[in-house]
Symmetry: C2
Subunit: 224 residues, 2 copies
DNA sequence: ATTAATCGGTAACCTATGTTACAAAACATG
DNA sequence: CATGTTTTGTAACATAGGTTACCGATTAAT
């Protein structure tokens, strides 16, 4: 698949056809970059000098404090922009570490070129604004999630959101409880404890990675 | 002062002259709105249908959970846009309550008109992108501040940031400790306790609203 | 100047979560 | 199948911060 075809799947080029993308890219320089699993793509504090666009693979964003990681901000799969909200504005430094979770391919476009790209096409410009707005919305939800809720509230939000479309009220975690604890910004034993308590009170049934909501209303009441 | 002159002080119209603003506004409808102190301008969860632009006054944004406010997100003074990052993107609901802290005047432009306004002028469009990016950056800092730090870390960040340009290492809080506690997302007694401890250890000298940094290095070590 | 309202300091007690450590269970690999 | 590795469950203990309540000090209002 050509780069233009891959890019056409990116939210940035929504409603833009491949031919147009090809034309847009003509005057634009870019580097192609390849990362192995666990390679650090950018580090917290690095200056943002351009836009990374993923072509394949999977990365994660993590906020750290002095010792060890604390909060996993998000998993990013597929054809996305990395940290698009930090390219413009005043404070152009990455707020997170971005790390390849598997083999990952990106292109990198320097700011001036990327800026030109946006200016050449109104749809792309608007798409970018949508993406950045989406990021702000995501971050604002994250604040609510992280700062305003105790652990059981987080479990409740997480499970209810993910079982909304499931008939059985059951999901299998896509990763370990350890990972989930990172996502919640809590320690693993604390998460397990909370899960056990909800299980003992027959509000959920949690066994390893399989979780089932038994009492939706009670579970909801933990969300603040 | 005419509306156009006031708007020219808004970040959105940076580098745009008053004549141009007047032309831009010609095809754009707007409502003028007046709020008294403590009026609620928008509520958490309300649909965002357009853009508020402050002409005068002061408002604050607060995130709430079930009972009472928990985290003051920011004070907004002067000529700013309210919640610009929630106008576009997917989730067009306000994530905060926005409340007038004093008598405040705004105009309101519906989304379609505001969108048209952006499209008419490249500088305005870019300014808006900068504003939204700035909001995302602000929110990301907020996450670091709220989720990754214990109280003393927050005090340290707050004081060091604010004494950076002061020769005396001293500041007077612009509001009560109660307010500061809201900003930090903690309770007032907990904040006082932490302030007292830092004071007793001669790292800061805190007396009411007046705070002085005595040992910058030790204070820094609380920031994570 | 007197009173009322707000603000700051303090303390006793409670609770959620972190810390550490270990064992059982599940899973992966030779 | 046997072994090592990762994941999960559990428990004892420590700690930060929340809750409530009270009182003295400031500040504002009459």
């Amino acid at each position: 698949m050509s780069i233009c075809e891959i890019l056409s799947k990116n939210r940035l080029f929504k409603e833009v056809d491949v031919t147009t993308i090809r034309q847009l890219l003509e005057g634009i320089g870019y580097k192609k970059l390849l990362y192995e699993k666990d390679d650090i793509i950018v580090m917290d504090g690095d200056w943002v000098t351009g836009q990374y666009i993923m072509l394949s693979g999977e990365v994660r964003g993590e906020m750290n404090n002095y010792a060890g990681k604390i909060v996993k901000i998000e998993d990013i799969k597929g054809y996305q922009l990395l940290a698009p909200a930090f390219l413009f504005g005043q404070d152009n430094r990455y707020p997170v570490d971005i790390i390849a979770s598997k083999k990952t391919e990106c292109i990198f476009i320097v700011r001036s070129d990327f800026s030109r790209l946006l200016q050449m096409d109104l749809t792309v410009q608007n798409n970018f604004l949508d993406i950045v707005s989406g990021k702000a919305q995501f971050l604002s939800n994250k604040i609510k999630f992280l700062a305003l809720q105790p652990i059981k509230g987080k479990i409740a939000s997480y499970l209810l959101k993910r079982t909304r479309n499931s008939l059985l009220n059951t999901i299998d975690l896509p990763y370990s409880q350890d990972n989930l604890a990172d996502l919640f910004g809590v320690t693993r034993p604390a998460l397990t404890r909370a899960l056990r308590e909800l299980d003992q009170n027959k509000i959920i049934c949690a066994k390893g990675k399989r979780m089932c909501v038994l009492d939706k209303e009670k579970l909801k009441s933990f969300i603040q």
